[in-house]
């Protein structure tokens, strides 16, 4: 039985009940807005309010038939996938290097590598805006991909680094002593073991790029507008139910990412549990 069932005094029971009530309210606060917006996207009316006059898919139809929205979805995908791939290469190499590197400068280098997460988005965006404009990288896919890679790579370094920390380096040594070349050992021994970590890193990287809007706001031309950027304009101008359809699409992507991540975590825990 769980710990709280053995509560003895009435005051403890009251405190526990209060915790339960407050927590339930907070859970409602956290989840209700996201749930409330979803049914509105299936409304047949154009007012964002309940009760719904009827159900329809007209706003999804609107989304699919709007070149603006579809182009933004395509842009989000292109920029998200490209910056994920780039940050995976850079981040994995760096995590491998950092795991072996011993130096008193290591905390400093690590802080530098992770700093894009901490620095406010506007500062990074303004800096990039000044820096990329003279070399023609504003209003281009390349500029946005580079910028999003810089933001996403810290997450790859963290997740892959955490996986490497639990990785038994003796396995790599064993492979080497049995005559495997470093590349062969990486491909056949190290890679399969750190693959779940890499996958989590990739998901984090993609989510970072897919959700990013401040840098896009500063750097994207009309051609490169992403889905969050289009939502930003939509909210500014007037909230049409098409935005709620876009919101549902974005949330679905988030849920898929979260579910995949959770599945990877469970698998990892199971493997660890089996080993112990």
């Amino acid at each position: 039985m769980s710990d709280h069932s053995s509560l003895r005094t009435p005051s403890q029971r009251i405190a526990w009940t209060a915790t339960l009530i407050v927590s339930t309210l907070v859970f409602i606060f956290l989840i209700a807005p996201i749930l409330a917006i979803m049914p509105l996207s299936f409304s047949s009316g154009s007012y964002l309010t309940y009760p719904l006059p009827g159900l329809s898919l007209r706003w999804y139809d609107d989304f699919i038939n709007s070149p603006r929205w579809m182009n933004s979805l395509k842009n989000s995908m292109i920029i998200g996938i490209a910056s994920t791939l780039l940050s995976m290469v850079l981040g994995t190499l760096a995590a491998l290097g950092l795991a072996q590197w011993k130096s008193r400068f290591k905390p400093l280098v690590l802080a530098f590598v992770l700093s894009p997460v901490v620095v406010p988005g506007v500062i990074t965006a303004v800096g990039l805006y000044f820096f990329f404009a003279p070399i023609g990288l504003t209003g281009s896919y390349v500029g946005l991909i580079l910028a999003h890679t810089a933001l996403a790579t810290p997450f790859v370094v963290i997740t892959v680094g955490a996986t490497l920390q639990s990785f038994d380096t003796n396995l790599a040594r064993a492979a080497a002593s049995l005559g495997a070349s470093p590349i062969y050992a990486f491909r056949r021994v190290i890679l399969p073991l750190i693959l779940p970590g890499l996958a989590s890193g990739a998901l984090f990287a993609f989510a970072t790029s897919f959700d990013e809007v401040v840098i896009v706001l500063f750097m994207a031309g009309p051609e490169q507008r992403t889905l969050p950027r289009e939502m930003f304009s939509g909210i500014r101008e007037n909230i049409s139910p098409t935005i709620t359809a876009a919101a549902v699409i974005l949330t679905t992507v988030s849920i898929i990412l979260l579910a995949t991540l959770e599945a990877l975590r469970r698998r990892n825990e199971r493997l660890k549990g089996g080993g112990a």
Binding site: T19, V119, L250
Partner: protein, 420 residues
Amino acid sequence: MTVTSPTGADVSTEVPLKRRLRRAERTRQVKALALVAPLLVFLLFTFAGPITGMLWRAVDDREVRQVLPHTIAALADWNGKDLPDEKAYAALASDIQAARAAGTIAIAAKRLNYALNGFRTILTSTSRNLKAMPQAGTAKETLGKINPAWRERSTWTTIKDAGGPVTGFYLLAALDLTRNADGAVVAAPPDQAIYREVFTRTFVISLSVTILCLILGFPVAYLLATLPPVRSNLLMIFVLLPFWTSLLVRTCAWIVLLQSKGVVNDSLLWLGIIDAPLRLIYNRFGVCVAMTHVLLPFMILPLYSSMKAISPAYMRAATSLGAPPLTAFLRIYLPQTLPGIGAGSLLVFILALGYYITPALVGGAADQMISYFIALYTTETANWGLASALGAVLLLATLLLALVYGRLVQGQQVTGGMKN
């Protein structure tokens, strides 16, 4: 591989072995560094470089120097007490002639107008009316006739101060300070002194959101840490799903809920609790609610992991020794959650400081935080010096807090490791 005989330490073979090991280790380190290098170079180009560039713009002041080079040179040995001599006036006249031909007057006028309101008119009217280069020795008289401002000392100190190549002007302006004609740092005129208020507002909003997150997050983290894993894992979805949902979606959701014909107002009207819709959004309330919603997971997760590490045995020991539940909680449990409270609060506060999107979408004009002004001066008014200076102040505050956060989290890891 060298095999040393097990019978004794042979000095002649042992030293090279040591050296070889050291060399192997060094090669390993070089290889490790080579793996990190691509990312470091990449971040130099896409992150550190751009931010350094922005910081440089906060002190860079070469516009006036480029447009009026001779004037700046002539003013170099001016004492600043009386009006400058004829040489400076002649230099200004020739600079203005050249700048008009090159079409660069506006660049200098814009920069000088930041320092002295109305300078744009002085410069453009002078440029328009100065038909030809005044005769030798009459430049002072001619310019004074075109615009009496050239007979004022402050006009000239403004040019000298803006002569660059570097300036503290923008950084001072970001703190509502300026230099007077004598070069002393004084408070900026009230119509320009808005940034201290903006910084205070940014601080107050961030602090309110942090406190709200702590109040709402603490019971949830406690519940999640106390419940058996099967149930807490399930409830964790309520924290992680919002965490993974797009910021734009969540902001949009709050607008839909809180607007005057939104879900909340409609329900309250229907229930008869209110007679007219409440103003719940495009004000401070809306900003705090939406930001608390976005940042709450960043509070819950560190709190949860610090509470998870507290052994229930401590509380049992305290109660068995006769401590009333409240005392046991305040004296035994709460102190152990302090590192988690510190980490979570700092994280939320740091993230809140730089918020831009949420206040921009759900706040009114009086709720815009510092990031809004940085964005405004970058893209709308192109006052890049001021945008960069405000950015520098925000960056400094963020990095200092991040440093404290790093220390705190590192300390936790160390003690956590010792406990286990």
